[in-house]
Each structure stands twice: as C-alpha cells, then as structure tokens.
Symmetry: C2
C-alpha cells in the first residue's frame, strides 16, 4: 500500500507530563497537506489480556476502575513489566488476579485500544488447562473472580453490563473460536 | 450488587496537564483496604463510532494515526462536540469522514476503550440507507474510504491488519446483527 500521502512527520517532540503511570507527549508535526499541527498522546509500555477457559466457562474478574468510577467486569489483564515477555505477563497477571494460571496459552491478534491518543498495544491470548497459581495477589488491588458461561457474558455485552473494549473483543473471539474449527486450527495449535 | 468493598474514594484531585486534546489528572485516593494511592487518568468528552452499511458492505476509512505511527483502517468515528447530541456527532463525523451520511441510525451499546487511564466512553451506532452528505471534510484530516465485504473485514482482524478496538467491536457486532434476527429485532427497530 502506498501510504506516504497519509503520513504525518515529527518536527519536535516534548514530554509534557511524566507520572508513575502516564507519560504524555506533545509533538509538532508536518501534515501531508504541507501544514503543521500538534499531536498530544500517551506513550504506554503495552499490556496483555487473556481469555481463560475454566470448566467450559470464562474466568473474568470484577474490580473498581477509578477513571470510569465503576466496578467493571473484565478479562484478566495487565501491563507488561520492563523487559518482560508478553506470555510471562499473561501468566503472572492471570495468577495475581484470579489465583489460577496456565501453561497452555495461545496467541491471538493484538489490539490498539485507544489510537486517538495512546500508542498502547494489548496482546490478546487464549488460555486453557488452568491450575492454581502461586502468584501473590497485588495488595493494592481489590479484585474478585467471576466465572460466567460464555452466552451469559455475551448477553452482558448486549445489555450494556460489560463495556470494557478488550473484554468485549475477547468474548467475541472466544465465541468464534468455540464455533469455528478452522479458526481453532489456525490459532489454538502448538 | 454490593460493590462498596471495591470502591476507591477521591481525597484530592489535581489537573497536571491541560492541552488542546488531553486533560490529565492525578488524584489521591483512599483504597477499600484503608491504604492510600494515586490514580492518573485522562478526562475525555466522549466519542461516537458508527457501522455504516453501504451496498451490503461496510464503509470504513483509512487514516494515519500519529500515536501508533500507522495508517489504520477504522470505522468512522469522532469526538462529541460540547453540548452535541451523540446522534448528531455520528451524522456529522460520518459526513465529514466519508462524504455520506444517514438518517437511519440505530444505537447499540457503548464501550469503554481504555479503562486503565481514561474515562472515555464511545457510543456505538449502526447506520443504513446512506446518502451523499453536504458536510465539509476536516482540512486537517487526510482520510480515504475503504468499502469492504464484512467477511473480508473480519479476515483482516484475524490477520492482524485491523487492530483498532472500536472497529473490531463494530465489525463483530455487524456480523452478529446480520446473522441473528432476534438481535436485529432488539437493536435495529425504530
């Protein structure tokens, strides 16, 4: 694809906020039209999310999300620690958040949650054969397991009770994988 | 649901960056465990995204996204202007981005793209009966229409060519709506 005509070129980059979590940048860019503009965005270290299957159900978690001021039902997920392999992130976060982990983990396709103002990428995985983990829970996280039949979880998307985008994508992927042998052969083989 | 045990209470809120697009806050919070922590997040005005059906295909757009440094294929979407009704946002953004708009627009369920660090909500709509719009394109946006068969768009999710989360969710919804009359009766009635 000839994409040159779309591309914005960096002229100058400035870090405008650096917190414990968020690193915010404001760049001057040259537009393909020749004009100039500014772009504000977050640099993020990336994250991983997993669809864990337990007893033919989906293992989700419930936790409070301060930015949305809501208790939300989500797939287990977390940020990639510096230098950490994404598969390790998944095993660790699954263990810390649910008390279970897995060695049967399959990679699906990554997603960009927030392309308007963040470079975050979330790597998506599918896990079976869960077993009790010896990962310690994060003492700062109040979190609870929610084991749902897939059809009940999907209904919670339709009724607006599950609104987290990575979770919606994971649940839709899960259903497709369950129904479609070709897709399983494509993604769930070692 | 008794959710009290999860909830984090605001102690102090501080605006740490205010740009043209991003408004970043850092709050001190009291954790349900009794401890204290800080939460960094973005306040966002909300957005709307639409699944536009044209000639039995899906009308997407291609544009450069500076934060991810990629040309991305997406459903038409945009931020809600202050005081604007979400349906008006959809009609306007669809017109500005694709040159087509619609008066047959149906509301699905909203999504939270980025619950870890943003309060953004994206309202999701489904549009049929497109017609040429008189909305002027945004001169700062280099954007191009991409009309795809639904199955080809879904294959682009599987092959990692479509990674934008709101777009993946919209395409999965679209397929479900096409296949499931009950779901159409639930969401696509006036």
């Amino acid at each position: 694809m000839k994409e040159k005509k779309f591309i914005e070129t960096k002229l100058k980059s400035k870090k405008v906020f650096s917190g414990k979590l968020l690193h915010v940048f404001m760049d001057d860019v040259k537009l393909p039209s020749g004009g100039e503009s500014t772009r504000e965005y977050i640099k993020h270290q990336g994250a991983a999310v997993v669809i864990p299957i337990m007893d033919n159900k989906i293992l989700l978690v419930k936790q409070y999300r301060y930015p949305t001021q809501q208790v939300m039902i989500e797939l287990p997920a977390g940020k990639i620690d510096p230098g950490e392999d994404e598969l390790t992130t998944v095993q660790r976060e699954l263990g810390e958040e649910t008390g279970y982990t897995s060695d049967k983990i399959f990679r699906l396709q990554p997603i960009h949650p927030c392309i308007g103002y963040s470079n975050e990428i979330i790597h998506l995985f599918f896990a079976t054969d869960l077993y009790e983990s010896n990962h310690e829970p994060d003492p700062d996280e109040e979190i609870e397991n929610v084991l749902l039949k897939l059809e009940d979880a999907i209904e919670m998307i339709y009724s607006g009770k599950i609104t987290d985008s990575k979770t919606i994508i994971g649940l839709f992927w899960a259903e497709r994988l369950m129904k479609d042998k070709k897709l399983r052969d494509r993604f769930l083989t070692e």
